[in-house]
Amino acid sequence: MFEGLGGKLSAIFDRLTKRGALSESDVGEALREVRVALLEADVALPVVKDFVEKVRVRAVGHEVLKSVTPGQQVIKIVHDALVETLGAEAEPINLRAEPPAIIMMVGLQGSGKTTSSAKLAVWLAKREGKKTLLASLDVRRPAAQEQLRVLGAQAGIATLPIVPGEPPVAIAKRALNTGRLEGYDAVILDTAGRQHIDDALMAEIKEVKAATKPVEILLVADAMTGQDAVTMAKAFHEAVDITGVVLTRVDGDARGGAALSMRAVTGRPIKLMGVGEKLDALEPFHGDRIARRILGMGDVVSLVEKAAETIEREEAEKLAAKLQKGRFDLEDLLSQLRQLKKMGGMSGLLGLLPGVAKVKKQLAGAQIDESVLTRQEAIILSMTKKERVNPDVIQASRKRRIAAGSGTEVSDVNRLLKQFMEMQRVMKQAKKMGAKFGGQMPTPEQMQRLQGQQMPKLPPGFPRGFKF
């Protein structure tokens, strides 16, 4: 009994001194720094406040990785939250409409609408093989229609013939008709730049919208926009219900906080980013890239990522060594379960095991009952050290004690033990297999083949129907 308790306590303290958890003051201190960084990056103040609070909740109590400071750990958490908010992966341009799909570009003067319209047409043509028509509704800026015509000619994209004196809504209707009659897949409407407080001009884009029913209404905004990005984006969104944002001039050195502001205030994804003046300088939005820039602490983020990688590698190596020796006990299973919980799921743990990287992806989308992990952890924690290292000693009375101690049923203990035995058997098999391959660890493919033959029933937490 004493031995068991002692073991449990020492394990807990071990973890604390090695890793520790973020205290409220660690987090508070780091977040003050983060706050200023975000403001200097032009993230709008209300967005900064909300974001920082969200991160605070998430960070307090979070474990600190070996070899990084609490402050660095907070910054990594901030970074991850930024990526999550901005969207890690770009959302595609929606063309799901009866052709032609209408895409309308809106935004302030000089934000990059005309250039982005032409870039998008090139993008749709090249990447998706879509026949696209460009039409300029900008009758205000001198030579704006000519600008789009020239860009179209340069890129080999059709532009709607210019009819001098024709008003914007009429141009839009003509573009739609031409698109229908001439079999275009998409029609991009470039509109004049406008101030969101210009009621007459805002009414105009609403009219264009009503007349053409665009599937995409993209707000084009400059990456160097300041605090007013929230007001601007909100106003455009309220007027025409934008479907996404195009962030331009990402090739500059602005920190790009407006991206976060606009994303937060409209809830709409940033779909594309402009990275140059040439027509091929358009990219899917990279949340990670922008997050690092906004935070301006990319070095710290890399450092923490490296530390995490090192730890993952060390643990994977440790596990690999055990596998190789054919020694795998309940302590190992416990540390795996914990790792699993920390990493937020099966997929994280599986990534550490050689040979299962591929299935990681399959698992990512699956639903896993994480409460099973907690229950299993509790069961192992109720065992003595001796029992964990040598599970053979666990007979009926011990099982009852363990079940009582962990608040589970004897049948749960049995299930866990059975799973463990089967896992151990596979490990032994793997070891033999390793010997066959010249004492080396089997390659991922060999491992997978092996598992395919021998895999025991999966623990209950695994998704149903899952196969290695």
């Binding site: 101030q195 990005a229 909100k234």
Partner: protein
């Protein structure tokens, strides 16, 4: 998605303009203590003054030691005074040197900031004063940039020196100065292609334009005008810094002040660089250029405008 809705409702409250914010903070009178000063600082940040300048201004206000409770209007007025004091030295309209024939104005800035339009407006103003002005279509890169300037030339009755798209901008500038000199014009306004200050090659092109101008007139360009969009955030610092060192910027113009963005970063720029603000743009029309008035600019920033 949940926090978006939360944030949205939060924003509805906090996106009110600076002035309303101050009124809110000091509603019913409040002491200028560290809490209210902190709130004030935040509101200045929301107007793009940047965290550092905001902190400085808030501290300056605290020094005034209002002994009693103050109203929102009192605070706004005091704040506007502080800001106007910083901006006062920047109020210098573009004055043509009559000895120069022509006075050469090189207009530079990042893409889309309003360079060409500002040239059109300046031309309109100078023509109104009876000056003879030539425009140089130095943006040979952007599609239809030459046509755009030509239209401004027609609108304002100014000759436009232009070559074909893709021509060497420095060569075009040289010819334009030759022609303007020969005509004995009062001013030559040179449009340039927008460029981001971190693009070294494009910036070097500006150095070349300056060098070429000096071959014809060692004192040219007499004014190098950096055009800033009022929507700009803290990147304006880098813009001024780099354009100043590469192209020798001598003054600023702030455009698009007819929107909700009020160009607060200009306050920080005035403190740091001390450059004059020659004019502001308040619309897309030829007559939408105004002299920079520190009082008015400051009052608009704090919502008293």
């Amino acid at each position: 998605m949940n926090w978006f809705s939360r944030l949205k409702s939060g924003l509805a409250k906090s996106s009110a303009k600076l002035g309303d914010g101050i009124v809110g903070i000091f509603k019913g009178g409040r002491k200028l203590d560290s809490a209210s000063i902190g709130d004030l600082e935040e509101l200045l940040i929301q107007a793009d003054l940047g965290p550092a300048t905001a902190a400085k201004l808030a501290a300056a206000l605290q020094k005034r030691r209002f002994e009693r409770e103050v109203s929102g209007d009192e605070v706004r007025t005091a704040l506007a005074e502080e800001i106007a004091a910083i901006l006062a030295p920047a109020a210098k309209p573009l004055a043509l040197d009559a000895a120069k024939k022509p006075h050469v104005v090189l207009v530079v800035g990042v893409n889309g900031s309003g360079k060409t339009t500002t040239i059109g407006k300046l031309a309109q103003q100078l023509r109104g004063d009876g000056r003879r002005v030539t425009l140089a279509a130095g943006d040979t890169f952007r599609a239809a940039a030459i046509d755009q300037l030509k239209i401004w030339g027609e609108r304002t009755g100014c000759p436009v020196v232009a070559k074909q798209p893709g021509a060497d901008a420095a060569g075009l500038t040289f010819e334009a100065l030759e022609q303007a000199k020969a005509r004995g014009d009062d001013a030559l306004l040179i449009d340039t292609a927008g460029r981001l200050q971190n693009k070294t090659e494009l910036m070097a092109e500006l150095t070349k334009i300056v060098r070429v101008l000096k071959k014809l007139d060692a004192s040219a360009p007499h004014t190098v005008l950096l055009v800033l969009d009022a929507n700009i955030g803290q990147n304006a610092h880098a813009q001024v810094e780099v354009f100043k060192s590469v192209a020798g910027v001598t003054g600023l113009a702030v455009t698009k002040l007819d929107g909700t963005a009020k160009g607060g970063v200009v306050v920080a720029l005035a403190e740091r660089f001390g450059l004059p603000v020659h004019a502001i743009g308040v619309g897309e029309g030829a007559d939408d250029l105004r002299p920079f008035d520190p009082q008015e600019f400051a009052r608009t920033l704090v919502g008293l405008g």
